[in-house]
Amino acid sequence: MGSRGGAKVLQLSRASRMRTKLQTALEASVLEIEDVSHQHAGHAAMRANANNKDGETHFNLKVVSPKFEGQSLVKRHRMVYDALADELQSGLHALSIVAKTPQEIGPK
């Protein structure tokens, strides 16, 4: 981290920022982040916002976290949204979220 210059940090993609934030907040054992912004390129809201022309607005997420245990789906999604609040403020537009506990994906 120490050797990384300021300019370089700015170039980090949203996907990699999301990865760091989700990893920190949720201690995820599985974390898949797929940028599907291209599928939404002609979206009314996307055309209206010049900040979004580089994509990185729509993502599919798969998060497996022990912190989801005992939590409803709404609560799990809220935890993901909370971790990504800054990104949602700055042009992240939509997430498709699969939120599971380690038990739920474990071998049956």
């Binding site: 599928q39 939404h40 979206h43 809201a45 789906l73 999604h77 949204y81 537009h93 997430l95 498709s96």
Partner: protein, 170 residues
Amino acid sequence: MSRPLSKLLFKGISGFPAACSSKIVSGSFYQNGMRYSTSVPNDSDTHDDFKPANKFDGSGLSLKELVEQDVKDNPVMLYMKGVPEVPQCGFSSLAVRVLKQYAVPLSARNILEDPELKTAVKAFSHWPTFPQIFIKGEFIGGSDIILNMHQSGELKEKLKDIAVNQEKSA
């Protein structure tokens, strides 16, 4: 007034890529016992049927109160992009498609037409994205959650009494 607007709308839609153009074909929308309202401006050309159920111009309601009333008065309330027959994003389209599997009245507002309403709904639910679904006053979530509940059978259970009530009153 309404003619050029609808032309524009269709032009816009035809230009959408696959993910946001999944139009819902529904000739039998009203026959299914569904109704919806949108925040269409009070255009004098607009037929009464297409005006919002709760007008907020001059009603003295704040947008927060309007949302509160929406979710209280409508057993299934959907805040979405576009209208149920022509959703303007894949996620809103998915939510409508799921809810249409059930014989329940569906009420919806188009948040694309009113940025202030959009902000008010987000603040009300503390949820950052659309669509947002409320059932019997309870915030349910977005399209991922409604699809999940549909697949698990939880949604059927939740909507059971609404569907029954609908039959009784019909």
